[in-house]
Amino acid sequence: MIPTIPQPRAIRFAYGAYVVLFFVYLALPLTVVAVFAFNDSQFPSLPWEGFTWNWFFGAERPQIGVFHERGILRAIGTSVFVAVCVSVLSVAVGLSNAFLFNRYQFRGKGLLYVIMLLPLVIPGIVLGISILVFSSTVANAAWDMAEWDIEALRPGMLLVVLGQFSFIATIASLVISARLQKFDQTLEEAALNLGATRLTAVRTITLPFLMPALIGALVVAFLMSFENFNTTLMLVGSDAPLTITMFDRLKEGSTPLLNAVSLLLMLGSSLLALAMIIFQRRR
């Protein structure tokens, strides 16, 4: 079934219809979420009560919009902070791993590489609880030995960052490694021959070459952190990121406020993804 091989028209038509149907299916849930953000009613469901911007800009009850809802704004702030920490940390470690696996031959390399991939096949919730258990073991030991209360090791921001980092670092490593493999090492040698030190050579030749992968890894890590739920759920403290806050609200019952937040999320992440794609095309 390729274009060069003729097929009966009915089959071609049915196939095309299936593909169209598939894309309708993909778009449907997101479309309804977006549309009902503008419903002038307390519920994101039919009947349609008319168009309103209140769920974005409204300042009075019962329709308090996103931009006047403190809880949501604070949660967005937390999410952005966590995502920035996780993505910077992941890209830094990923870069180091990429150099390690591409440039050095050592015993146990293959095994270490497989272990590095494991976080991808460990369920997120298990990653979360194992880190929760271990950090509280450490915190309890510190208390028992020296009456030293390490607040940071209790569920909260630090653990959320570490938990997300524990598997996003793998993805960053893979993205950066893939690009470093394509690098022509003779370019670096040329720089060395011209009198550059090893560090200068890496900084002026290799890093610029890696830049698209670094940006890509940064954006992917940011988005994955922003939308992570499972690992975060087990490690969250009092300052919850956006996904957890929205989940709690959704359990209590939904208002179009959540649709408005969702629409902003969609716009934000699509713009970020689009910017990344354009940046990488230009290179």
């Binding site: 079934m1 449907l28 590095m116 096949v121 990653l127 258990v133 939904s254 969702s262």
Partner: protein, 285 residues
């Protein structure tokens, strides 16, 4: 190695080892040790298999575990069946701009949080939702229909949520299949079906395996979709873990549950790799 190269090597190795030891390896060992503890008094613990015994003797726990596993397998298969024709279309039939546009369209929904996607399905499927209204309008139902809070709703959500992770590896492997190989298959007298079975599917095997592994993992470890779309009777194993840890504060039993989940997912991933002769490096890396 020269001294300077050795220093560089150690500097690069340190973050990797710290990460894997402190965040992956030791926590899992610790979780396993906690799961072997039995509380015998206030702050007093014995080493025993009591938690695992509880897991195997309490029908609810074991039943939920098996149900979660079976439903994840079913969700993976449905995802594969839905995604394969579309991936084939994108990889082999669509050309040029249409091809990249379609592929991009597949990616977009998944840059959005899983919560938003699940929320979308809630709006569609609930009693006052769009589908219910549509059915009434079309005269197929004479009263609101509740389609949420059952296993089918969970299935819809799981399949939707993991679609991308099936599509990307499938499209990538199918794209690398040369058209002339398919033509040769037809020239040698193959029918559409035999070409699919003898040429296309074997070629796409690595993509199918890695897609299935990821989708299965994501379904098994999913918490959000079963909680939001499932009802009282459709318990998911991750919900048990969550309730032991956060609600009941019984970390010993929760750790045992977590370990069982890890064991199951590792076994299935390992089994799939073995059966198809793939390796983790090839399918994930």
């Amino acid at each position: 190695m020269q001294p300077s190269a050795k220093l560089g090597f150690i500097l690069l190795l340190t973050p990797l080892l710290l990460w894997l030891a402190l965040l992956i390896f030791i926590p899992h060992v610790d979780m396993f040790l906690v799961s072997l503890r039995e509380r015998v008094g206030v702050g007093k613990y014995d080493t025993s298999l009591a938690n695992y015994r509880t897991f195997f003797t309490e029908p609810l726990y074991l039943w939920t575990f098996l149900r979660t596993a079976v439903m994840s397998v079913v969700a993976t298969m449905i995802t594969l069946i839905i995604a394969f024709p579309v991936s084939y279309y994108i990889a082999k039939i669509a050309r040029g701009r249409l091809q990249s546009a379609l592929f991009l369209l597949c990616l977009i929904p998944f840059y959005v949080s899983e919560l938003v996607r699940t929320f979308g399905w809630m709006i569609l499927l609930r009693e006052t939702g769009l589908v219910s209204n549509l059915l009434q309008w079309a005269g197929l139902a004479d009263q609101p229909v509740e389609m949420l809070y059952n296993d089918a709703a969970i299935m819809v959500g799981l399949v939707y949520t993991s679609m991308l992770f099936m599509m990307v590896p499938l499209v990538t492997t199918l794209e690398s299949l040369d058209d002339s190989v398919i033509e040769a298959g037809y020239d040698l007298g193959g029918t559409g079906f035999s070409v699919l079975r003898e040429i296309v599917i074997p070629h796409a095997a690595p993509g199918i395996v890695s897609g299935c592994i990821v989708v299965f993992m994501l379904s098994l470890g999913n918490y959000l979709t079963p909680t939001m779309l499932g009802g009282k009777d459709s318990l998911w194993f991750t919900e048990l873990i969550y309730s032991q840890f956060i609600v009941r504060f019984n970390w010993e039993l929760g750790a045992a549950f977590g370990f069982m989940l890890l064991l199951l997912s590792s076994l299935i991933v390992w089994g799939m790799l073995k059966i198809t002769g793939q390796t983790l490096e090839k399918t994930m890396g």
